[in-house]
C-alpha cells in the first residue's frame, strides 16, 4: 500500500507516471487490488478476465476524474487530501477517499465494458428492484390511465380504502412528499416519529397498501389494469391526506417546513 508520503508525492505531480518508480508501483498495486475487488463483487468472478492491468486501472482513475486540462481540472486531488482535516488517521482518510473514487471509476468501467443488451425487455422483472417491477410498470404509456369510464370512481374508492388503512405516521410522510419536501428532513421525520431509513420504507408501504386495496377491489383485473388504477388512485390518496392534514395538529410542522421552503 502507498505510504502517506507517496500519496502526497502523487498529489503534487500531475500523474503517477511522473512519480518515483516505487511510488508509481505502490499506487498501481493499490488501484489494481481495489479495482479487482470492486469489479468481482459487482459482477462476479467471471469479470476478472476483462479487467485492465495495474497501470490501466490507475490510468482510468486519473483519466476519468479529471475535469479539465489545467490544474483546476484535478480538483479531486485537493478534495482527497482535504478529507484528512476531518480527523482520524490521515493515511486512512486518503486511502478511504481513493477507494471511493475508484468505486465510481469501476462502476463506469463495468457500465461501458459490460453494457446492457441492445434490446430492452419491458416485461422482465428488473434486477435488484423490489416487488418484481418491470420497465413497463415504471414507464406506462401516456394514455394508459383513465381509459375505462368507470376508472375514476374505482380509483377514488381504492384511495379512500387506503387512506382509512394508513396510520398518522404514514399519512404525514405521504403529505411531506406531496408538498415536495425531503422525506429525510429532520422536521418531517420528527413529526412522523421515525428515523431516516424507516421513513422511506413507510412511504413505500403506503403505496403497497394502495396496491393491495386495488387487488381487493378488482380481483379479476389484470396487473396492467390494476397498475392503471393505482396510478389514478395515488394522487387521489395524496389529495385525501392533504384535506385531512389541514385539520390535523401533528401535520403543522410539515406545513411549516413547506412554507419556509416555498
Amino acid at each position: 500500500m502507498p505510504s502517506l508520503e507517496q500519496w502526497q508525492e502523487w498529489g503534487a505531480q500531475c500523474a503517477a507516471a511522473r512519480c518515483a518508480p516505487e511510488t508509481r508501483a505502490a499506487l498501481h498495486l493499490f488501484g489494481w487490488q481495489r479495482f479487482g475487488h470492486y469489479a468481482r463483487r459487482a459482477r462476479g468472478e467471471g469479470v476478472a478476465g476483462c479487467l485492465p492491468d495495474a497501470a490501466g486501472c490507475w490510468h482510468l482513475l486519473e483519466a476519468r476524474l479529471v475535469t479539465g486540462r489545467s490544474r483546476p481540472g484535478k480538483a479531486y486531488k485537493r478534495w482527497l487530501f482535504d478529507r484528512t482535516a476531518g480527523g482520524g488517521e490521515p493515511l486512512d482518510a486518503v486511502q478511504g477517499g481513493a477507494s471511493l473514487l475508484l468505486r465510481s471509476v469501476v462502476r463506469d468501467f463495468l457500465r461501458r465494458e459490460a453494457p446492457r443488451p441492445a434490446t430492452v425487455s419491458l416485461d422482465a422483472p428488473l434486477e435488484g428492484v423490489e416487488g418484481r417491477l418491470t420497465l413497463a410498470d415504471l414507464l406506462p404509456a401516456p394514455d394508459a390511465t383513465g381509459a375505462e369510464p368507470d376508472a375514476p370512481r374505482l380509483a377514488g374508492a381504492i384511495a379512500r380504502a387506503a387512506f382509512d388503512a394508513l396510520d398518522v405516521r404514514a399519512r404525514l410522510l405521504v403529505l411531506a412528499k406531496h408538498l415536495d419536501l425531503p422525506l429525510y428532513h429532520p422536521a418531517v421525520t420528527a413529526a412522523a416519529g421515525t428515523s431516516r431509513s424507516r421513513a422511506s420504507e413507510i412511504w413505500r408501504e403506503a403505496f403497497e397498501r394502495l396496491a393491495a386495496e386495488a387487488r381487493r377491489a378488482c380481483p379479476d383485473e389484470d396487473a396492467g389494469g390494476r397498475l392503471r388504477l393505482c396510478l389514478l388512485a395515488a394522487p387521489e390518496l395524496a389529495r385525501l391526506i392533504f384535506q385531512w392534514a389541514r385539520a390535523e395538529k401533528s401535520a403543522a410542522p410539515v406545513f411549516r417546513v413547506a412554507e419556509e421552503q416555498a
Binding site: 480538483a75 468505486r103 446492457r116 435488484g128 423490489e130 429525510y184
Partner: protein, 225 residues
C-alpha cells in the same frame, strides 16, 4: 406469445440508469476500507486564494459533510440568490440522467456527466469560497439548466434538444428513483445543518492551527464543532 411492443420513450435510458443504480448498491456493499460517513458536520476549509465566486463556474465542494466526503460533489454556480448566497445545481453521481430535471452534458469527465437542475439549491458564499474551482459551464449547459429550472417552476417545457438529453418521467410510486431522489436531497439538508451548527462555518485550517497551540484558543478538544 406476447406481441412485440415498441419500448416507451426513455425505456432504454431508464434501463441504463437502473443498471448503474444496481451496480452502485453492490459496490457500496463491497467497500473494503472506506470510512463510514460522519454523523456530525466538520468545518469548512479556509477560503482559497483567488477563489472569487462567479456565475457559470463549476466548483468542487469541500469534504465538509457526510455527503460531500462520500464522493466529490461538483456544483454549477447559476446565479446570485441574495447577499452572500448563490443558486447552485449539483452534478449527479451517475453517467445517465435519472429524471426529467437531469441533463446529460456529454462531457468526458465522469463527475460532470449529468447536471441535476431538479436538485438546485442555495449555497452560502462561505461554502463556495472554500470550494475548489474546477471548470466552467458551457453556454449550452447554462441554457439547458435554465430551461429545466423554468420548466420545473411551471414554465414552458424544455426545448426538444434539451429534453432529448434528460431522464424519463417518474410516475410509479415504487420506482427506485424515489430512493435516489431522497438520497440526493440529503446533500442540502446536511449543508444546511453544517452551516447552522455552532462553529459550522469556521475555517478548519484556523482550527487546526489552534489545536496545535499548547493552550488552544477554542477550548477543549471537540468544542470547535
Amino acid at each position: 406469445m406476447k406481441p412485440e411492443r415498441d419500448p416507451p420513450p426513455g425505456a432504454r435510458r431508464l434501463a441504463a440508469w437502473l443498471d448503474e443504480w444496481h451496480l452502485e448498491r453492490r459496490l457500496q456493499a463491497a467497500d473494503p476500507d472506506a470510512p463510514p460517513a460522519r454523523r456530525a458536520p466538520i468545518r469548512y476549509p479556509a477560503p482559497r486564494a483567488g477563489a472569487a465566486v462567479r456565475a457559470g463556474q463549476i466548483r468542487l465542494l469541500p469534504p465538509a459533510t457526510p455527503a460531500t466526503a462520500a464522493r466529490p460533489v461538483y456544483v454549477a454556480v447559476l446565479a446570485p440568490a441574495g447577499p452572500e448566497r448563490w443558486q447552485v445545481a449539483p452534478f449527479g453521481r451517475f453517467a445517465t440522467p435519472a429524471l426529467p430535471g437531469e441533463y446529460a452534458t456529454r462531457r468526458r469527465a465522469l463527475p460532470l456527466s449529468v447536471l441535476c437542475a431538479w436538485n438546485a439549491g442555495v449555497a452560502g458564499a462561505a461554502l463556495l469560497r472554500a470550494s475548489y474551482p474546477a471548470g466552467r459551464l458551457t453556454a449550452a449547459e447554462r441554457r439547458a439548466c435554465g430551461a429545466l429550472l423554468a420548466a420545473a417552476g411551471g414554465g414552458a417545457p424544455p426545448p426538444a434538444d434539451v429534453a432529448r438529453r434528460t431522464g424519463p418521467p417518474l410516475v410509479h410510486p415504487l420506482d427506485p428513483r424515489h430512493a435516489y431522489v431522497e438520497e440526493e436531497r440529503a446533500l442540502w439538508l446536511e449543508i444546511g445543518a453544517a452551516a447552522a451548527a455552532p462553529g459550522g462555518a469556521r475555517p478548519f485550517d484556523e482550527l487546526r492551527l489552534a489545536a496545535e497551540e499548547p493552550e488552544g484558543r477554542y477550548g477543549k478538544k471537540g468544542s470547535g464543532g
